[in-house]
């Protein structure tokens, strides 16, 4: 049972998680889980349940604003959800067949490489010389948005559709197997392989993460992992934070978002590596 005095504290943490999540296209689990377990002494089961609520609240709250601002690419999001949802089911099926330690290590290496690649491109504002993939035109995986920070209309198209789709499928598989939020992988796939502008990548990732989380939320609820005393302040705080985050993000430069993203990537890849090594 959580004391009511903690409610305001959890609310404050959730505001920050919602803001960071909305900025970077993540669910905020990387903030919520350690803050609840270490800061409030909540057990990991309820912290994970709260992070599922956080992912869905960030996703719906932020995506509503980003779609209105035309930054989210709905078609790219829906197209890639084919890969993530199919991957999640594959992952659930594979279950005991694959060593999760090995997967942690493999994906830690993938993320570590991505961290380096993004660090090298930390000053890049918009992708240049993108050769559109033949599916980009056919499936309308392209678009344009008005960039407030640059004060110009940005038109973009997708490269590496197959690689992006493949990485999304992999992200779906590990989320089905390991149950980790995969906003990081979604942003990577769109940024590195499909060569979308950073803002489009994070906004479209935001749009997608809620769907994957919602599919599993029912189980967490039925198992009693979603405690209303924790879920209520988390949901409300995240919605407030995500709203603030979307206001901030449209004013930031793509290069600034990248610079904020690099340390987060590094943190997640090191954490995954440690999990893989310790078992």
């Amino acid at each position: 049972m959580v004391a009511l005095t903690n409610t305001t504290g959890i609310l404050a943490v959730a505001v920050i998680a919602g803001m960071v999540g909305a900025l970077l296209g993540l669910g905020g689990g990387i903030i919520i889980i350690p803050a609840l377990t270490l800061g409030f002494g909540i057990d990991i089961r309820h912290a994970i349940g709260a992070s599922v609520v956080s992912v869905i609240a960030t996703s719906s709250g932020a995506a509503a604003a980003y779609i209105r601002d035309r930054i989210t690419n709905i078609r790219i999001g829906m197209f890639l959800e084919v890969a993530t949802t199919a991957g999640a089911i594959t992952g659930a099926w594979l279950g005991g067949l694959i060593s999760s330690r090995l997967l942690y290590i493999v994906f830690a290496i993938v993320l570590g490489y991505s961290t380096l690649a993004m660090f090298q491109r930390r000053n890049m504002e918009l992708p240049e010389g993108v050769v559109p993939h033949h599916l980009a035109r056919k499936l309308r995986l392209e678009g344009s948005y008005y960039d407030q920070a640059l004060a110009q209309q940005v038109t973009y198209t997708s490269a590496g559709v197959y690689q992006g789709f493949g990485l999304m499928y992999g992200a779906g598989v590990i989320s089905g197997l390991l149950g980790i939020g995969n906003g990081v992988f979604k942003v990577m796939a769109m940024d590195m392989f499909m060569k979308l502008p950073m803002k489009v990548s994070t906004a479209t990732s935001n749009f997608m993460i809620g769907v994957t989380a919602a599919a599993s939320a029912g189980i967490y609820f039925a198992r009693g992992d979603i405690n209303p005393a924790i879920g209520a302040p988390v949901a409300l705080g995240v919605v407030i934070g995500a709203t603030l985050g979307t206001r901030l993000m449209v004013r930031l430069r793509n290069a600034t978002l990248r610079k904020v993203f690099v340390p987060v990537l590094l943190y997640v890849s090191v954490e995954m590596l440690l999990k893989g090594l310790k078992g």
Binding site: M1, L4, T7, V53, I56, A57, S59, S60, G61, A63, A64, A65, I67, R68, R70, I74, R75, M78, F79, E81, V82, T85, A86, A88, I89, G91, A92, G95, K138, L139, R140, S175, G176, G179, G210, V211, T212, A213, A214, A215, S216, A217, G218, I219, F221, A222, R223, G224, I226, N227, P228, A229, G231, A232, P233, A235, L236, V239
Partner: protein, 133 residues
């Protein structure tokens, strides 16, 4: 939704663009209303909890099924009201996918009607399998 046009009228690019914008606004609206309604219900539940200082259930217990939640909501139990809001919040992305199918039909975009239907099928399947993500 196939609109039959008498004579051979080519659809202008402008009409096409405004339809695409209508689709985006519709999906954005679904998400916004889902969030606003569920946040309002959670706030009411939390306010009940703070004011009454009572969860409506024995210590350490809270509803874990939709029927328990609904029964509790009828009796205005604070935890049940919060859970109703949380359940609506969770349902919002699923509803968004279902609504997108309607939107893509309206936009006469067959590939995306199929893509979105596939995603919805996968989501329902994972709910049934009960293990996805």
């Amino acid at each position: 939704m196939r609109v039959v046009v008498t004579g051979s009228r080519q659809e202008s690019a402008k009409e096409k663009a405004s339809r695409a914008i209508a689709v985006e606004d519709f999906i954005s609206g679904c998400l916004r209303w889902g969030v606003v309604i569920s946040a309002a219900i959670i706030t009411v539940g939390l306010a009940f909890l703070v004011v009454t200082g009572n969860t409506g259930y024995p210590a350490g217990f809270y509803p874990t099924s939709v029927s328990q939640v609904l029964l509790g909501v009828v009796k205005l139990k604070p935890f049940a009201v919060i859970d109703l809001g949380l359940l609506l919040l969770v349902a919002t992305p699923m509803f968004r996918v279902a609504a997108s199918i309607v939107a893509f039909v309206y936009d006469r975009d067959l590939p995306y009607v199929l893509i979105t239907t596939f995603v919805l099928t996968m989501l329902i399947l994972s709910l049934i399998l009960g293990k996805a993500e």
